[in-house]
């Protein structure tokens, strides 16, 4: 239902800029979904997602510009390289809470510095220019609208895949780890193995998003992938509501589009953004997703609140 809206938007608002920004929001929505898996279902606070976004973006960009490989390969390679890079985080999975977050923060800063300094590979601070449009087989997807639909397709695929993952054996293991590590161990779950796997899955998805980012912006700069970007992705998940995939998508749109809407306020733009962030946080941990479902309940007035209220970890429609 919401999907139909998304499909129709570029037709209703064909202005290039609008479609471009929405495409960007979709790309970040994909990255937010990955973080939601980590944070909302495995309980792992990662401030490292921008690093994987960058690794995926640069992999895809380098393969298509320097080596002239087709987009499909570059796209897959982006996910692969991000996944492999995430394996370096295996040792830190035994860190708890804030310490894990700080280690991922360190990881992001290191990767950013590598992207910035290794000019022979990444073009350094000049970045990479003229990244080609993506292609699917013989067709080259030119134009904002085509890219938009590609990103949308990937978003939908990711959403469905993650929704399938949560009620599975893997998803249960993650949630068990988040809810009670000792009980999870006593039930036969290898904590390090599953935490690492969660990181890898999230990294691969984020790597794919990075590839889309590269071909969407067609220009890459290392400063797109600072730890601040990681924080932004975290904001998207938090605003949308921790534990809800739909919330992560919503949050991504809010955080990406809000500054655009605030352009009218000109210099006060970011001040208002900061203030609104604080207000959003006052909504409680279900974030916007919780707000919407609470509103929906009141509007529909069908089932009692106890049955309707979503809880993190339970499958939702």
């Amino acid at each position: 239902m919401v999907l139909v809206l998304f499909i129709l938007v570029p037709i209703v608002y064909p202005q290039e800029y609008v479609v471009h920004v929405l495409g960007l929001a979709i790309i970040f929505a994909i990255a937010s979904l990955a973080l939601q898996l980590l944070l909302g279902f495995a309980g792992l606070l990662s401030i490292g997602q921008a690093a994987f976004l960058g690794i995926g973006a640069y992999t895809s960009a380098i393969l298509t510009t320097t080596y002239k490989l087709p987009f499909e390969l570059a796209f897959l390679a982006a996910g692969l390289s991000a996944g492999i890079a995430s394996l370096t985080l295996v040792p830190i999975t035994r860190l708890r809470g804030v310490y894990l977050a700080v280690a991922t923060l360190g990881f992001t800063i290191i990767i950013h510095l590598v992207l910035l300094n290794e000019e022979w590979l990444t073009g350094g601070p000049f970045g990479i220019l003229n990244i080609p449009w993506p292609s699917l087989g013989p067709w080259r997807l030119r134009g904002e609208t085509s890219i938009y639909y590609l990103c949308l397709a990937i978003l939908v695929a990711t959403f469905i895949a993650l929704r399938r993952l949560i009620p599975s054996r893997f998803g249960r293991a993650l949630q068990a780890i988040m809810l009670d590590e000792d009980a999870a161990r006593a039930s036969g779950i290898d904590l390090t193995y599953y935490k690492s796997q969660a990181f890898v899955v999230a990294a691969v998805i984020t790597g794919f998003a990075g590839s889309l980012f590269a071909h969407h912006s067609q220009y890459l700069n290392p400063n797109d992938f600072t730890f601040w970007k990681s924080i932004e992705i975290l904001l998207m998940v938090a605003v949308g509501g921790i534990g809800s995939f739909a919330g992560a998508v919503t949050g991504a749109f809010v955080v990406t589009l809000l500054p655009e809407f605030l352009r009218a306020a000109d210099e006060y733009r970011m001040v208002i953004f900061g203030a609104m962030l604080i207000v959003f946080m006052g909504l409680g941990h279900r974030g916007l997703a919780g707000l919407f479902s609470a509103v929906a309940v009141r509007v529909l007035q069908r089932r009692p609140l106890a049955e309707q209220a979503p809880a993190p970890g339970l499958s939702r429609q």
Binding site: L165, S168, R169, F170, A173, D180, S187, G188, L314
Partner: protein
């Protein structure tokens, strides 16, 4: 006859405190073995050691003929050692059924990719897990609450849920940490019946309890701990009249009172 579990001089130190001190124990296959002792005697730490939640400072542990000293908890769980917890460790945000399904984690093999594509093998595995979990819930009497959030269960039922999660994988050794805590007399009786039924299906049980009636009714042998050391071991009758045991629980004065009562 080979023992199911053998502990040899198992010791666990925390900084300056020796919680478990050179404990040696044998568990015979098929028995219900009690583990009692005053507060702070090291009973829960012993369970932590056997289940692998904690690693021993020294000493060894054998499961059947295999040396499993220092094995991590998830590996011991896969080998068939399962437990419940004194302070209940349920996955509160998940449903009752999901809690039990996690108990079968080690019996499954499907991972990320199969889950996303939903292969026939994965679907079969999920069906098996659901079936076995419902059976475990039926054994403890919670089948009708399967889809409720675990957090919504009453206290007594929560204990049963933990037991269901522990037995669903048909363990060879079940460690129960004060399962009767907070239960009234009739609930405790039902619990004893449940433990017996589980034992009859071939599960060896190590039962830590303060509820003496439960221990005496259910156990064929009892080990008594005090200050981390084994104080006594024997049948319920032997333990009941053992002077050192009575003294440990009731103190010197209590012991003398008991003796004068018998005189």
């Amino acid at each position: 006859m080979t023992a199911l579990l053998m502990l040899d001089l198992l010791t666990r130190r925390f900084g300056g405190i020796t919680a478990v001190d050179a404990l040696s124990m044998r568990l015979e296959a098929g028995e219900i073995h009690g583990l009692i002792g005053p507060n702070g005697a090291g009973k829960t730490t012993t369970l932590d050691l056997i289940s692998g939640l904690t690693a021993p400072t020294s000493g060894r542990m054998w499961l059947l003929q295999t040396d499993v000293t220092g094995d991590p908890a998830h590996r011991l769980a896969a080998r068939g050692i399962r437990r419940t917890f004194q302070n209940l460790k349920l996955f509160t945000d998940l449903t009752v059924l999901q809690n039990v399904m996690i108990g079968l984690h080690a019996n499954g093999t499907t991972g990320v990719c199969e889950a996303i594509i939903s292969t026939p093998r994965q679907r079969r595995e999920e069906e098996m897990i659901t079936r076995e979990s419902m059976a475990a819930l039926a054994t403890v009497g919670l089948a009708d609450q399967a889809d409720r959030p675990a957090a919504a269960l009453a206290y007594g039922y929560r204990r049963l849920l933990e037991i269901a999660r522990a037995i669903v994988a048909r363990p060879i050794l079940l460690l129960l940490d004060e399962p009767a805590a907070g239960l009234n007399a009739s609930e405790a009786e039902t619990l004893v019946g449940l433990i017996r039924r589980i034992n009859a299906q071939g599960v060896t049980v190590l039962l830590v309890e303060h509820h003496m009636d439960v221990i005496m009714a259910a156990c064929s042998r009892i080990t008594v701990l005090n200050y981390g050391q084994k104080l006594a071991e024997g049948t319920p009758t032997e333990i009941r009249s053992d002077e050192t045991v009575i003294e440990a629980y009731l103190g010197r004065a209590g012991l003398e009172e008991r003796i004068s009562a018998y005189a």
